[in-house]
């Protein structure tokens, strides 16, 4: 007789809420494929609220692992899950508005959104490389389908590129898992850390494994040179999907990277830091430079998100708690800004045949002052100009990198920020200074504007009083094993 393992399902309650909600939404969409989508959207929001509540309930639990060491229960996972639920709520609302506006029924959107979020919530809690791999796959597969969801030519092509390169990256991720397993005879994050600090593991093999894992995860957060898919996919995907995936994927994958790099391969930090610094510097430079050449707002934001990934990664050269807290703060401020920015773009683009070229934004300040103001706030935060959260976030990550002795990286980051400020401010100038041209196709409804004010307020409040969440993030940055 084999003893039954302990199944502490409460430890993954947020994940179960999301997947359970996703399954119910999937079944319902099977029975009501062309029904009104409002009930689906409300149900999704309820599932997200339930997941967030159960994540909060885990906040005061003792930090440990559950389900035979497969998932960890700690404050890092709780904070990340809460952020993911917030992003998911905006994604669900934006998607609702997007499909409702064109009367386009795709009720599976909500099931896919919940599945993707479930994968992400599992990823941020994953304490075993098997779970990391499965969670990355679950979220990726849901996102591929969400990208193609309108079945128009642009989105399906974007989905094909996303899928081919994503599957390519998964192969590297899996090879990295296999190498780590070969090095240490275990796939658990904790076990790897133990095997690599002792004499049991094989260091060179583990280093190869860690680098392959960085390649696999780097694809998902679009670090240079693994960013080739980003502009096409961000431009081709429906705007609400772009908003959701650009924010949520980065949160989930970067938190997983914290666990993998700082804990499992913590003893190799010295060897890995140069590689991380190179990836980070490359992303900051190339993302900022290529963004300047773009004539389409969605593509520009895509390249900007490549640069932002580089900024976040620069905090990873410091495996200290300040580094983790800085990365979390950056992720939260970036998410708020990018969800808001793509949300505004969605309202301006005028329906499912999205038009997001620069000419659409010319003189927007006269026609749509509210939308122009909102977009300006988001772009200022992405550029890192005070008093927005983006500024504080950059100060924090550069501080972490400096304390680890990587001041050349900080110098490159500062220069890239200056270059980046140029193309963000160019869009703002385009909206404020120039005469409007063509017909105004912007969405007139007031509710989306109100909803998008929430991330704008978040960005400003976090920029003026970052102290409201920084202590919480520092607590979340303590990883005890």
């Amino acid at each position: 007789m084999i003893d039954a393992p302990r199944v502490e399902l409460w430890a993954i309650l947020p994940v179960l809420m999301l997947f359970g909600g996703g399954l119910i939404a999937l079944l319902a969409s099977g029975f009501a494929r062309r029904a009104a989508q409002a009930p689906f959207a409300l149900f999704t929001l309820a599932a997200l609220a339930a997941a967030a509540a159960s994540a909060l309930w885990l906040w005061n639990r003792e930090t440990t692992t559950a389900l035979e060491g497969m998932v960890s229960i700690d404050r890092l996972a709780v904070v990340a899950t809460l952020a993911l639920c917030g992003i998911g709520a905006f994604g669900a609302y934006l998607g609702f508005h997007y499909f409702e506006r064109d009367d386009f029924r795709r009720n599976e959107f909500y099931a896919l959104l919940l599945f993707a979020l479930g994968g992400m919530a599992l990823l941020v809690a994953a304490a075993d490389l098997i779970v990391v791999f499965l969670a990355v796959e679950v979220l990726s597969l849901a996102l591929y389908v969400m990208t193609a969801l309108t079945f128009r030519r642009g989105p399906t092509e974007a989905a094909m590129k996303y899928f081919l390169l994503g599957a390519f990256a998964s192969a590297f991720l899996l090879y990295g898992v296999a190498m780590s397993y070969g090095a240490s005879a275990t796939t658990s994050v904790q076990g790897l850390a133990r095997a690599l600090t002792g004499v049991g593991g094989s260091q060179p093999l583990a280093l190869v494994g860690a680098l392959l894992l960085v390649v696999g995860l780097g694809f998902k957060v679009s670090l240079v040179p693994f960013h080739m898919w980003t502009p096409d996919v961000y431009q081709g995907a429906p705007s609400p999907v772009t908003a959701f995936m650009s924010a949520a994927t980065k949160v989930a994958v970067f938190v997983a990277m914290v666990r993998v790099l700082d804990v499992a391969f913590g003893s190799l930090a010295w060897d890995l830091a140069p590689a991380i610094a190179v990836l980070s510097a490359g992303s900051m430079i190339l993302g900022s430079v290529l963004a300047i050449a773009q004539r389409d707002v969605k593509r520009m934001l895509a390249y900007s998100s490549v640069a932002q990934a580089g900024f976040i990664l620069s905090s990873f050269v410091s495996p200290e708690r300040e580094g983790i807290a800085a990365a979390l703060f950056y992720l939260i401020s970036y998410s708020a800004a990018v969800v808001g920015a793509f949300g505004v773009v969605m309202l301006i683009s005028g329906g499912i045949r999205e038009q997001t070229g620069f000419e659409r934004f010319r003189g927007l300040g006269r026609r749509q002052p509210v939308l122009a103001a909102l977009l300006s706030v988001f772009l200022l935060s992405l550029a890192g100009i005070p008093p927005t959260a983006g500024f504080v976030a950059k100060v924090l990550v550069f501080g972490a990198a400096t304390s680890a002795g990587y001041w050349p990286l900080v110098l490159i980051g500062a220069l890239a920020s200056v270059a980046g400020a140029f193309f963000y401010l160019r869009v703002i100038a385009l909206m404020a200074m120039q005469e409007p041209r063509g017909v105004d196709i912007a969405d007139p409804s007031p509710l989306p504007r109100l909803v998008l004010a929430v991330p704008a307020v978040t960005v400003v409040v976090l920029g003026i009083v970052p102290g409201v969440i920084v202590p919480l993030l520092q607590e979340a940055g303590v990883l005890t094993w």
């Binding site: 791999f133 499965l134 591929y144 389908v145 899996l174 296999a178 397993y181």
Partner: protein, 101 residues
């Protein structure tokens, strides 16, 4: 006589490299995808070889999961590729070019 584990690792590394090369060199979506499949199966071989080397089963379990994931990817991937084909009548990734800039 048992074949040394290193042989399996070498074979799987070669297969993985071939898969990588075919992803990078091919222009047809289906062929690219076949390259990815080759990579995933090469990793499965690595996992099983390591599993035997360490005399424990985690690697084989992971190989199971990776097979299921690969199948899931086949289904999603082929569905997307067929959808593109229905729109454009081509699976050449260079000719799929609505998105450029």
């Amino acid at each position: 006589m048992r074949t040394p584990v290193a042989y399996f690792l070498l074979l799987s590394a070669i297969l993985f490299s071939l898969g990588t090369a075919s992803v990078l060199l091919r222009r047809n979506a289906l062929r690219i995808f076949m390259g990815v499949e080759l990579q995933l199966n090469a990793v499965n071989l690595t996992l099983v070889a390591f599993s035997r080397m360490h005399m424990e089963l985690d690697g084989q379990i992971l190989a199971f999961f990776s097979m299921v994931v690969a199948a899931a990817e086949v289904v999603v991937g082929l569905a997307i590729i067929v959808a593109v084909f229905r729109r454009t009548s081509t699976t050449d990734v260079d000719r799929a070019s609505v998105l450029r800039g």
